[in-house]
Symmetry: C2
Subunit: 330 residues, 2 copies
């Protein structure tokens, strides 16, 4: 495991200038990560960043003044090799950083990753994967989670390989791969699903067939394959439903005479829950199929979400994500 130890020593490069609450949320998340023992490298304007770093926290900065805005066209990053986003990718490409995190413009991050990291041999289009908590305590890799909204069955088959490699790098041996569908029987699903299932079954993977979302959450598969439209709908439905349940539950507790105690208990339980599942990080994801580890965080990421994204970046790099991908695809 000398490789893993070597990875653990290298920092995660964080584009400190991208995101709705940049740079404050990015720096705060990075500080929390450093304090938890994960090395981080900030990329951005040092005159802005330096004052945000508490004394005694070891958080080096790669200085640059250019930052990609949320409203800039994605392709504009092609002409901006000195932007904090591009420099973060270059830190990974050069091997100085083990992974990168961006919470800024998603399209721009995709373009920058393809430019500076390059696409792995055998990958047609990179996919975004999100890791969701399952009720059996396991993790569910959902891919594609939003990058490719219109897909051919062949693309879905390549997402299956990418997702399986991610599950392996997260420690799952022989990941079980399911195809997102509205019914489990082989004839179920829309035309795309029916055309994709035979392709998946021809791959060197443990394919369990069509899987519905509740079964996936219960642990029927480790990887759930879908196009980016269905995947994003699933992801955002989960976000909306979790939020609705918690809101209604809070309101319900308010109605009881033991209100204050109930609210207090619920608050504590929610904090614990959050620690386990990092809801804040849902909506972000890992870019699969490029020559490096990139976590694309939610634009709305707060410090907690940034720290979760850094942890995911680190775990994936340490688990040998790119090596798993290369082995799977080779």
């Amino acid at each position: 495991m000398s490789g893993a130890r070597e990875v653990a020593a290298r920092p995660v490069a964080v584009d400190a200038m991208g995101g709705d609450d940049a740079p404050e949320a990015l720096v705060a998340g990075a500080v929390a990560s450093v304090r938890a023992g994960l090395p981080v490298l900030l990329i951005g304007d040092q005159t802005v960043l330096r004052p945000l770093i508490p004394r005694g926290v070891d958080l080096p900065i790669v200085h640059t003044e250019d930052a990609v805005g949320m409203d800039d066209p994605a392709v504009s990053v092609r002409r901006r090799p000195e932007s904090s986003l591009r420099l973060a990718m270059q830190e990974v490409a050069s091997g100085r950083a083990c992974a990168a995190v961006s919470c800024g413009h998603t399209g721009a991050a995709l373009v920058a990753a393809v430019l500076d990291l390059g696409v792995l041999p055998g990958v047609e289009r990179p996919a975004v994967a999100t890791v969701l908590p399952r009720s059996d305590g396991g993790q569910l890799v959902l891919t594609d989670a939003g990058a490719n909204v219109d897909c051919r069955p062949e693309q879905l088959a390549s997402f299956a390989m990418l997702g399986a490699a991610l599950a392996e790098s997260l420690g799952v041996e022989e990941p079980r791969v399911g195809l997102l569908s509205n019914g489990t029987e082989p004839g179920k699903g829309n035309m795309q699903v029916r055309a994709t299932l035979p392709l998946l079954e021809a791959l060197p993977l443990d394919v369990v067939g069509n899987v519905e979302p509740p079964a996936a959450f219960r642990g029927d598969c480790d990887v759930l394959v879908c196009d980016g439209f269905a995947g994003n709908i699933m992801l955002k439905s989960v976000e909306g439903a979790a939020d609705t349940v918690l809101r209604l539950l809070r309101e319900e507790l308010k109605g009881h005479r033991s209100a204050q105690l109930g609210a207090w208990l619920l608050q504590r339980a929610l904090r614990g829950l959050r620690g386990k599942v990092a809801w804040e990080a849902i909506g972000g994801g890992l870019l699969l199929g490029v020559e490096g580890v990139l976590v694309i965080g939610h634009g709305r990421s707060n410090a907690e979400a940034v720290a979760a994204a850094i942890a995911l970046a680190h775990t994936s790099a340490e688990g040998g994500l790119v090596e798993s991908l290369r082995a799977r695809l080779g």
Copy 2:
């Protein structure tokens, strides 16, 4: 409101023989409804049903010995006019019942509804709608929720009209209609979404544009239009996520020293929550576009879910669902 009063006096016809836990769950749900003041008519084998009805409960039975099984081909109901499913539809067609409930074979229920109730003029294909609780206290009509997995944009436009009529019959004036998408800007979504939005905007409806699931749950629209694949994925993701949140929360409360009190409070809150949102009924839905009210319950429905389905059937009939549909389509 003499029309509504007249509807209220007519029973809901329940196919007592269809469903995983039939006939017990169906009869128990019907009994609860009758006790709550909603008249019900059971359709099925009286030798089996009669012993399940407590003394003093006014629950008439239309006797028949034929029942459609979960493994029977959907089209087989064409040749079985005496099946409990077909007889339930005929009670609605004749006007003796105000609505029907089936928790059995969904495909068979669709075929039976088209045969015995008939399709409303102007409807190409009936759609299934599910009514979900929103966190702002309102209701979200999701359509199509699973009946039509591959749709042309024109079909989605017709679902918008059907969904708006349902929202009106549930008491929403000028329902706001959204198109399910993975992003709100007009250029977002997959090819189907981009082709559908202009068609929706040409309809005599209050169209709010593309809507993501979390915004729909917060109350940005009253009707959410989608194909049956995406709709079913959304529905089942909500089911899976709600279940996961509650399981993890229960576990989290267990870990605290104040465990028993916490668990007790959570149990109470969950009971209250269930009363509000009828999670058990999610997965079922209303069939829109036929000449009568049919609620298709979940195959796994328990007594509580059956009672919720009966209540939804009654509310929709009383609210003039079919008349709203006819007015919208005319």
